[in-house]
Amino acid sequence: MSLLEARNIRKIYGSLKALDGASLVVSGNEFHGLIGPNGSGKSTLLKCIAGAEIPTEGTILLGNRDITSFTAAERARAGLSLKFQITAVLPELSVYDNILIALQANSSLFVLLLSLSRKALHEKAMDCLARFKLVDKHDQLAAYLSHGEQQWLEIAMALAREPKLLLLDEPTAGMSPQERRATGELLAPIKSSCSLLIVEHDLDFIKDICDSLTVLDQGQVVASGPTQEVQNSQRVKEAYLSHA
């Protein structure tokens, strides 16, 4: 059964068609890659799904729920979690507090006012930090982490809320080959608990971790299916070669 379904998404900015009827299906516990040449509409589609952009046309379903008109916050509460392309950790908070703020998002206003869930969330916060190898840096301000560590922290924050679907926009951008490999290893275990929709330029990375791929070109879907099948598709090769 599909977890996320985006149907015929169109996004038009003035005279520019960023998305022109793109559709996408992500199943439960699936790692799905969204690839395509620069300007093909990958990030726009991801933003439309997350609620950062409102599609001009189209429908987005999460489970059987139509979330097209939901705000970003409502989509987050429905089970979507986004990691931005540009690192968006909270620089003037400690690493620990970055995780805590993500973890406590489900707490009510009353609970937050009285700090009633702080102790209960501590173990979870430490688990998140441990999983992303950030325990040693828990007390540092996030601004002083390396670029790769900031990316990991942001993935940890996105995962902390235990989403149904994690949306990652170029999580390995600016990382060294070692950091990319480590990122793949860090993401692999989450498959048992959530699905992943990932936009990435590094095709080797995406081929290694994704079960299926959707390829976009000029706002339209060129191919979609299991990774191996899409990889060998003539249309995909042409789409990439035409931009080479």
């Binding site: 916050a73 968006a88 909270l90 620990y96 206003l109 937050l112 009285l114 430490m126 325990v135 007390d139």
Partner: protein, 361 residues
Amino acid sequence: MNQTVSPSASTYRQVLPWIEIALLLVALPLPWILDDFWILFATKICILALLALSFDLVWGYAGIMSFGQALFFGVAGYTTALLATKNGMSSVLILMPVAALIGLVVAFVVAVIVIFGKRIPSIIFVALGTLTGSYVVERLVRGWSYVGGQNGISSLPRLSVGSFEIEEGVAFFYMALALLIVFYLLLRWLVRSQFGLVLAGIRQNESRILFFGYNVQTFKGVTFSLAGLIAGLSGGLFAFHEGFIGPGQLGPVLSTQAVLYVLFGGVGTLVGAILGVSVIELISYVLPQVDALGPGVQQFLETGWPIVLGLLLLVTVMFRPTGLVGFMVSERERIGSFGRPPKSQAATGSRPVTQPREAQS
């Protein structure tokens, strides 16, 4: 699950609590040290410190640029003044809660207009909305004879508790100081709570917080309304301490003064707001009296003091955005922690992390 924390985990020196204790130790014996005039002066500082705290809460902690704090201050002052002069009320136990309630309600109404809505408003929208509201109400009050027009409302009776009258002087000073301490402690707890952590997140990256699923407007609205309550209480105290409330206490000039207090003292630290009020009010009064400056400069300061204040604000924003507190407190301490593991464990490095320590002040 137990995790170990490495010795590299940083700790920071705690200076803020010492500044707070020092200020308290200075304030408590003031009535025994100062003459009548300076006791009145110190009382006014306590009252204006509440106004400064209200602005610090909205801007320094929630990132809401409000030029409307004087609106809540003034409307509450006018309401209590009217209750006293037209209805003969003088009980502090009625008038001060009413002042706080009026501040809360007016701030909530303003929040409904400028904060709540489908889209999150920009800083500029809120700043201009509150500035406009403050200006409009000031102009209306100036032309409304029922509330005294240009002259405001004067000759207010003394506040009382039962048959005991709270005279301006020692009794009023301790009442204002007690209220300042109570609200300071309340805010100190609030800004370091889990709610305060969300405010810190909103201040730094509002859209990131949205994507966690937080209803940002609710957090901002609650904070803005609470700040209105504090400004309202401050306005009520001010009216009865000065025995007067006028249109000048409603408008953008006082709102801007509140901004200056906080930026000069150290935005985002509660103690900075109090330091800012104290230093600016002291300099404002003392500087024009210094004979060594010469009669020309003294005469200029008497009328041109707002120009000096404006320049001071400019210099602070450009060269010392952390204000006076920034000279004494490290960046790490100013930011603080909301739920980090116990410091002792962070320092020793090999012991398991168990429960989070209560946040720093």
